[in-house]
Every structure is written in structure tokens, then in C-alpha cells.
């Protein structure tokens, strides 16, 4: 057989078999993976709204959010699942807000594919903790190479400005959207 033809055929064969096998594996594993991600997301609601004891899913105008209540049924906060573009891909994060949407109680990055060691550090406790008890109006902002001064400021990760900036942008945009439909 022509050598060139053989090379093409063999490579095509291996790639096709590989693709077929992986499609099957993906078929069986993706429901489980989805279930895991959903569980992570639900757990994060209690992390971003610490006072919450239970939550109720609400959908208004295409926006899903979770109304969080304590034992007595009083609304203690709102957990807003958000997503948007990061530096390398989609970033999904859960934002915990006060019922009047004026302050952030906490955030939790759920999914991201940013650069490990740089942008990936948005998943670290150190970065996320900055968002505890900051103001949302007029907008959350980030500062570089200095400590945050205003009530709305957080410090971007050194060397990961775009990822940090993306998180802030996603938060602002989604709080804005929620505010438009709730109020």
C-alpha cells in the first residue's frame, strides 16, 4: 500500500476509534458530572449567605435566583448564580447579596478554566473573602497594586488582572440585571 495512504488511514482510524470511545464514556459520565456540579452549586448558596437555613428558587424574566430564609422564615439574603466570560473561558460564580441588593455577603467561584496559578487564583479563599461585606452601588470596582480604600473596592490578583476584572464585571452586570427585574 502507498506509504502516504497508509499513514493517513492509520491515523484516521485511531482518531476515529478514540473519538468513538470517548463519546461513549462522555455519554455515561456527563449525567453524573452534571449532578455533581448541581450539588456544588446548591452547597454554595449556604456559603455565600451564611445565615440561610433554607432557600427557594425563584425565576423572574429569565433570571434564576434563590431567596434565602432563616428558621423563622425571614428573608436573610439572595443567592444569585452568575456566569460570564473570563480570560480563558466561562466563569460561573454564586453571589450572596443582602435582600436589598446593596451589599455583597460573599461569593463562591463554581467553575473556571483560567490559568492555573494566576487567573485560577480567583477560586482561592483569599480572593473570594475580599467580597464579604462590600457595597454594590454604584458598582464593585477593582484596584491594582494597592490596597482597596473604598467600600466598593477589591484588590485584583497580581498577574491576573483580566480574570479579576472579569469576576467584577460578571458580578456588576448580573446584580444590575437582577435589580432591574426585582425593583
Amino acid at each position: 500500500m502507498n506509504r502516504r495512504l497508509k499513514m493517513i488511514l492509520i491515523l484516521t482510524l485511531f482518531a476515529s476509534v478514540s473519538g468513538g470511545i470517548l463519546s461513549l464514556v462522555y455519554l455515561f459520565s456527563s449525567p453524573l458530572i452534571e449532578a455533581n456540579l448541581l450539588e456544588e452549586r446548591n452547597k454554595s448558596i449556604f456559603e455565600v449567605v451564611p445565615a440561610a437555613k433554607e432557600y427557594e428558587e425563584k425565576i423572574l424574566d429569565d433570571i434564576t435566583y434563590f431567596e434565602c430564609k432563616d428558621e423563622s422564615g425571614t428573608i436573610v439574603g439572595i443567592a444569585l448564580p452568575t456566569q460570564g466570560n473570563g480570560y480563558q473561558g466561562i466563569i460561573k460564580l454564586m453571589v450572596g447579596l443582602t435582600p436589598d441588593l446593596d451589599r455583597i455577603m460573599g461569593i463562591k467561584v463554581l467553575e473556571q478554566v483560567e490559568t492555573p496559578g494566576l487567573g485560577g487564583r480567583i477560586s482561592e479563599e483569599g480572593f473570594q473573602a475580599q467580597f464579604r461585606d462590600i457595597a454594590t452601588k454604584p458598582a464593585v470596582e477593582y484596584v491594582k497594586n494597592q490596597e482597596p480604600e473604598k467600600d466598593t473596592e477589591i484588590k485584583a490578583i497580581t498577574g491576573a488582572t483580566i480574570s479579576s476584572r472579569s469576576v467584577v464585571a460578571i458580578i456588576n452586570k448580573n446584580i444590575q440585571r437582577l435589580g432591574d427585574v426585582i425593583q
Binding site: R3, K6, M7, I10, L11, F14, A15, S18, I21, L22, V25, Y26, S29, S30, L32, I33, N36, E40, P116, G120
Partner: protein, 211 residues
Amino acid sequence: MPNMDGTNKVGAFGEFIKGFWKENPILVMLLGMCPTLAVTTSAINGLTMGLAVLFVLTGSSLIVSVVRNIVPKQVRIPTFIVIIATFVTMVDLFLKAFLLDLSKALGPFIPLIVVNCIILGRAEAFASKNTVWRSLLDAIGVSLGFTVTLVFLGGIREILGMKTFFGKSVLGEGFDPWVIMLLPPGAFITLGFMLGAKNLIDRKMKEKKKE
């Protein structure tokens, strides 16, 4: 040691056991250093990575050996990579579906197994040139040697850095953990000591043989 006809003189057991000491992938071949240093922050992480590599190396060496005569030489490397990447993706999806916490702990280093030099190295240097049975033994031996070394390294770093071993508390109250052990410098230092120790033991054994 090769015979005149190119086949290996080492018997089946030798093929298997060499991965543990004489041809230990980390301590002798110095391959796969990046994941070695990065994931051994605890014994369980080291064990998980080792078992993932066991699956990938065994699977790919097996397939590479089976098809070694039908793959044209010029496209062998891309073919090996496709085979290896298939196994790695299976491991990645498996961990994400069944062992999410370990998947998150090991992070990008699971997909990076594709470029772990040990895997491609054994495929090219051994599996593509030996029988299926020998390739299987080689792969399992080297993987287990890798795993044992990772657990050892991870164990030392976990015990000294967090005072736990596989999550269980050890060492008691009087010892202040050396947090540096959990960071890159600790990895390099511990690995350095392990390399030195192996070489020392080898030298002592050689001296004993001479007597």
C-alpha cells in the same frame, strides 16, 4: 542488557520489579517531575495521581504494543499521543463523575498526564518494541514504582507540613508543622533528599557486593 538478537535478557519478574528501584521513573529516570512536585502535598493526592498514571500507562502501553507492527514509523508519535490522550480523558471524566474532591485537588495535573514524559517515554522506548506481555509488566512495574514514590514523597510532606498521614493525625501536640513542606520549596528539598538517599543506598550496596 540486550542479547545478541536484541531481545532483553531480563526475565518477566525483572521486567516488573525494575520500575521500583533500578529504573524508578522519578528517582532514576527523573521523568514526570512536574506532577511529582506539584501533587504530592499529601499522601492521598500522590496515591490518586499514581493510580491515574497506572491506568493510563498500562492501557496505552498495552495498545501501543498490540498495534506496534501496523503503525507506520513516521506517524507513531501522533498515534501514541492519541492513544494516551484517550486514556487520560477517560480518567479525567471518571474523577469528575465519581471522585470530585480528588479531581479538584489534582486540578490541571490530571489532563497534563498526557504530556507526562513517563507515558510517552515508555511507549516509545519499550512498548513499541516489545511483546504485549513484557510491555504490560514494564508498564505496571514503572507505574507502581511511580505510585510508591509519590505516596512516600506526599507522605513526608503531609506529615511534616500538616501533621497528618492520609488524613489521620500523627506526631502529636509538641511539633509545630513545617508549612514550607506544602509549598514548592518543600517539594524540591524533600525530593532532593530522596534522590540523595537512593544514591547513597545504591553506593553502599555496591560497596557491599565488592567485599
